[in-house]
Subunit: 354 residues, 2 copies
DNA sequence: TTGAAAGCGCTAACAC
DNA sequence: GTGTTAGCGCTTTCAA
């Protein structure tokens, strides 16, 4: 069924059918009804390719999940607790606005060409980049495309430095610095002074922010950061377990009284290490993570953490993107979502009576 | 940059460019190189819409997530432990074969038209349905489309009954019956005779299979199913907690010695109920779930469960679908993946000395 | 208010 | 081997 068939059946021309389909104002109600009746009767659906070729938009947005380090990880990005709710809200919000979502995973710099291709092939109107790297080279490629794009978890300052505050670009972040500072301050308020830190990957924006927040907050409160208590992690469980174990194998007198882990995954690793060595949480060691993954509230003891409004962030990403696609609102914008401290059972007052 | 521009620069015609792009055999190596040089130099990408309009396939598959009951659930499908790894493997596998994935959520029967539209609008070559309902009406609509489609977790017998074993259709299941039987038999082998069951939604294939497996296995072993010990659940945590609590509020002498829960989510609810009433697992009550969600192995005590090869199922779905799209291999096929019993800490021998 | 006709960029049958 | 040309189905100027 083509528009021409509909036209014939309705006794009008293809142009009129097109006008009706596209809700043009200059077609009388009577003609519109006549055409719509046939359209509905035959369940006519215009051919998307033909429409796009004739200059219409695709009504499709691309979601590109950058995951250059995780291809061979057991801890795949789709299974991680950031991506699942993210895609949920994104697809939902986009669908509700009449948009389709094209999803693609990027595992290497070479794969990155897929983003460009999706545009050049006219498959999508705009795109969203969510991933773990704060990669300025990629951002530049995106910016040079000069199409609507939303960047998630990118360093705004660095973007500005590189003059990438281009139109059609939006950045959506969470306030990781603030969240991490709250976590450290929570520990300090409980009387902890020797607080260890398990860092995340430093090539990510959130990894850096959480690290800096830890360092600065400690300093601001006049607390000494003990070099051996700053453990180098990679956001994954296994390495964190090793590092914590190594630290706890030293003389117990040198142990920190609390650990702030840059994410929950690594906090689980810390718990593994403690369990293995018979160290009690929170009796001997307080522990707080970041991300507030669903497991956090289900563990025994429940893990204290900092939660991120991922769902809202993703929803906002879809909204902003569609707006940019439709209105061509050509301004650079950024938005940073607040975090929330979730105090549970793994953090307690230093030397609390048992 | 259009094919015509490339043609001019390379000193050939548009047809030749097209032949090179589409890897036709009847173009000499020399010409091919000449054209490719220009193509690469200018990063030329053919316009997808034009190609599709001219009769090429879209190289895109649709993933439709049916979720008619879960729109307002806190336990959204994208966050559930079935969907996340499913989309992971699917996108990965499809991308690796050069396919894009268009994703759409269907929240109601009305939304279902989106599946049809995606095809009629020529957005996708084939589709995959994953969801929670074993809905024959939907299956019929799909079958009538006569395009490549993969159905996940559908009742093959019912499909056959309805003569929906059409070409271009494939069904991918897990052996839920077998898995559930293994779970019940495991409890029986531990000496349990009064085994309670928390059922899942009966409008799902897996819900039904797990229920039937429980009933039949009990019967096969000459064990009596006590009506009050067959709890009616909905696959969600809250209701399961209520039901288990209600059961445990009766005289302790009437308690079952073990519970088989149709999924882990509800097993968590059962654990909540026990915790609330001070009932010890596994000392007083053995418990086994289904799905082997990641949390299962992280709880204290670790939850025994039955694991499903979701990743492999999804991978297979992508492979079969692409094969159907490309080869037009027009046969009805089904494949059922085996399950695996994961014995952990929540199941123990009846009256084991403590 | 409506229709005719010229594209949009590509593929493929046909002719050379 | 390679070029010419006629579509694919739609939108949108332009004219009437």
């Amino acid at each position: 069924m083509r528009s021409e068939d509909i036209a014939k059946l309705a006794g009008v021309s293809r142009s009129t059918v097109s006008r009706v389909i596209n809700n043009y104002s200059n077609v009388p109600e009577k003609t519109r009804e006549k055409v719509m009746k046939i359209v509905e009767e035959y369940h006519y659906e215009p051919n998307t390719s033909a429409r796009i070729l004739a200059g219409k938009s695709t009504n499709t947005i691309g979601l590109f999940v950058i995951s250059t380090t995780e291809k061979h990880n057991p801890n795949r990005i789709y299974q991680n607790n950031y991506f699942a709710p993210f895609v949920d809200a994104l697809v939902d919000t986009a669908n509700a606005m009449g948009y389709y979502v094209l999803i693609h995973t990027i595992y290497s710099e070479d794969d990155f060409i897929k983003v460009k291709q999706a545009f050049q092939q006219k498959r999508i109107d705009g795109g969203i980049i969510v991933g773990t790297e704060n990669n300025m080279a990629m951002a530049r490629v995106i910016a040079d495309l000069e199409v609507p794009f939303v960047l998630i978890d990118y360093d705004i300052a660095e973007l500005l430095e590189n003059r990438l505050d281009r139109n059609n670009l939006a950045v959506i972040n969470s306030k990781d610095y603030e969240g991490a500072a709250k976590a450290v301050e929570h520990l300090i308020s409980l009387g902890h002074r020797d607080i260890a830190f398990i860092s995340g990957r430093q090539n990510t924006y959130s990894g850096k922010q959480r690290y800096q927040a830890y360092m600065t907050t400690m300093q601001d409160h006049g607390l000494k950061v003990i070099e051996k208590h700053v453990l180098s992690g990679d956001f994954l469980r296994a390495k964190a377990e090793q590092e914590v174990k190594k630290m706890l194998l030293c003389d117990a007198a040198t142990w920190p009284s609390a650990i702030f882990s840059a994410n929950d995954e690594m906090a689980l690793g810390a718990m593994d290490a403690c369990k293995g060595l018979g160290v009690l949480i929170p009796e001997q060691l307080s522990l707080i993570g970041f991300d507030d993954i669903p497991v956090a509230a289900q563990l025994n003891p429940n893990l204290s953490s900092v939660s991120l409004p991922i769902y809202e962030m993703s929803q906002k990403a879809a909204l902003i993107l569609v707006e940019m696609c439709e209105k061509g609102s050509a301004s650079f914008s950024t938005i940073s979502f607040p975090t929330q401290l979730m105090i549970r059972e793994t953090t307690r007052e230093l030397n609390a009576s048992l």
